[in-house]
Amino acid sequence: MSSSPRTSDFDLECHNITKRFGDFTAVDDISFSIPKGSFFSILGPSGCGKTTLLRMMAGFLEPDSGDLRIKGKSMVGVPPNKRPVNMVFQHLALFPMMTVEENIAYGLKRQGMPKADIPAKVKSALERISLPDAGPKRIDQLSGGQKQRIAIARCLVLDPDVLLLDEPLGALDLKLREHMKVELKQLQHNFDTTFVYITHDQSEALVMSDQVAVMNHGVFEQVGTPQELYYKPKTAFVAGFVGDTNRWSGSIKGMSGNEVQVETKDGLKLVATAADQNLAKGQNVDIFVRPESVVISRKSDALVGIENTIKGNVESVLFDGANSRVLVRDPSSGDKIMVTLPQTGEFNDLQAGQELHLGWRLAQAKCFDTLAMSAEQLADMS
């Protein structure tokens, strides 16, 4: 493969990377490139191959075929300690036998930095993560968030071309995780380093990333900005995995242009926009509608002109401040539909059992070829 002059625009490129374990293909012919200084996330359910892909970037695994380039240089056969990448491990792997200072100095020593220069470098790293006094502390004296920052500083002090992060927020409690999402994004901005972040948490990926790759069964389903993935999913998997969504399965009864008429097996007739290219009459399809796209009303005449309408009863109200939702049950099919409550105050007194009219527009219902999904993945999506 010849390196064109454009390659240097990318910090990391993968060309047709494949990795098999016995009969199982963990990573299947993936190609992508990550522009300099961006925050790139790989989002996928457990077992989709994202960890395998990350470990190949770090050098702990070698691809069976394909090329992996960092700053235009092929990394195939280069051991992890010789690669210009560093990794923040899932459980951080801060060395418990060393102090914070020694942890940060470890990599600098290995780089052969003169002993006299190390303390100053460590100090400035600690200041950049706003933990200037943490140096002499032992690892077990730190809080979860502090450990997180030390683990990132330990890598960034080495000035890597790419920083790999293996779900480092997984072990934190919810509140700290929300806080660290913002902080990670800021750190990435401050250090101006390319971050490759893998996660199964779609909210982490959406909040922090410039680009997200949604991975499933060893392939990238879609690569794009968080907005693209959310508003313009290309496959049923992406539509279901990124963000919350309502889903109906049925078969196509008729098509006109982009509009698809679908009937579910309970006899519910819906219209949706074709999001897949090759849909045909009679085909089994899935329709996805976001909870915030559904309009609710107590009276049916408020929904005149909306293409899809259903009458249902409130099953339960899931109050969560601004993110409050209501679960509505369609009595004819038994389907449960999740709807975001509008913040107008109109529905504040909503009670279980009340009757509601639901409606959503054609453009907001996306129709995809039915996806074969394992039960585990379906559980991950809900």
């Binding site: 560093n86 990794m87 491990f89 899932q90 792997a93 060395f95 470890y106 890598c155 080495l158």
Partner: protein, 287 residues
């Protein structure tokens, strides 16, 4: 009233076996030994209290030479055992997965199914003048006459290392298994090579296991009687042999008790020194 005394009684009952064991099996014999060791025989059936038995030890070069020799060879045995056991343990704990791990671990245990005496005789069959190794070397033309490999210091060390191997492997495998693989990977990821990862991460983590293994192996070697006598022969000059001779051959219990105390002091001092040197505490390594 009952509320206050009941837990106390329970505690006493719970502690009783431990206290009885400590008192009857450890404290009592040692006090008796100590009393015996400071008793001097001045004439038949006439005894005096004094440190003469200890004085005898320092006056006779054979005694303290044997003493020092036993200490040095035990330390040497401990070091050799550690050097051999560490890679073995690392391989079992970190390189192997599943069944092979159990198989290799059991292989380490296997020799301990037979008694130490039988195992030592096994070594004698291999190493003696008319033994297997000597015969093989002659057959292969590498030696033109029978070679006696028994009754040397090296043979004693080999025998002791073989005897104590398991007691080093077990604590090492346990501590190495508790080292998460991600620490080793992080060590490499941050630029370390095999040597630095070993020195900076694996060994510091394994230190409690190393020290506890060393203490056990050292104590076992220092107090061993059978292996040095059988493999080292009459000239093995092991300190336990001196104690045996005082008690049994010469029927000088007073001298034997003094030697026993000196051995206790020696092992305590060396273990203490080892802990200080490795900056470990006894509670850390044994806990």
């Amino acid at each position: 009233m009952t509320n206050k005394t009941a837990p106390k009684l329970g505690l006493i009952l719970l502690m009783a076996p431990l206290l009885i064991w400590l008192f009857a099996l450890i404290l009592l014999p040692h006090v008796d030994m100590f009393m015996l060791s400071i008793t001097e025989k001045v004439a038949p059936r006439v005894y005096e209290t004094g440190l003469g038995n200890y004085g005898e030890f320092f006056a006779e070069p054979l005694y303290w030479n044997t003493y020092a020799r036993t200490a040095i060879m035990s330390i040497l045995t401990t070091i050799v055992t550690l050097v051999i056991a560490f890679p073995v343990s690392y391989y079992i704990a970190k390189m192997l997965r599943g069944r092979m791990k159990a198989v290799l671990f059991v292989l380490c245990l296997l020799p301990f199914w037979v008694s130490e005496l039988v195992r030592t005789f096994g070594w004698m069959i291999l190493l003696r003048e008319t033994g297997i190794i000597s015969t093989f070397l002659q057959w292969a033309g590498l030696a033109d006459q029978p070679i006696e490999m028994l009754y040397t210091d090296a043979t004693i060390v080999v025998g002791l290392v073989y005897t104590s191997m398991l007691f080093m492997v077990v604590p090492l495998v346990t501590t190495l298994e508790s080292l998460d693989d991600s620490y080793i990977e992080a060590g490499y990821d941050l630029g370390g090579n095999g040597f630095t990862v070993m020195r900076e991460i694996v060994i510091p983590h394994a230190m409690p296991g190393i020290v506890s293994g060393c203490i056990v192996v050292f104590m076992l070697s220092l107090g061993n009687y059978l292996t040095p006598i059988l493999l080292g022969g009459k000239d093995s000059l092991w300190f336990t042999e001196q104690i045996y001779a005082q008690f049994i051959t010469r029927f000088n219990w007073e001298q034997g008790a003094a030697f026993g105390f000196l051995l206790l002091i020696l092992s305590s001092l060396i273990v203490w020194g080892g802990l200080k040197l490795s900056r470990q505490t006894l509670s850390e390594t044994m806990g």
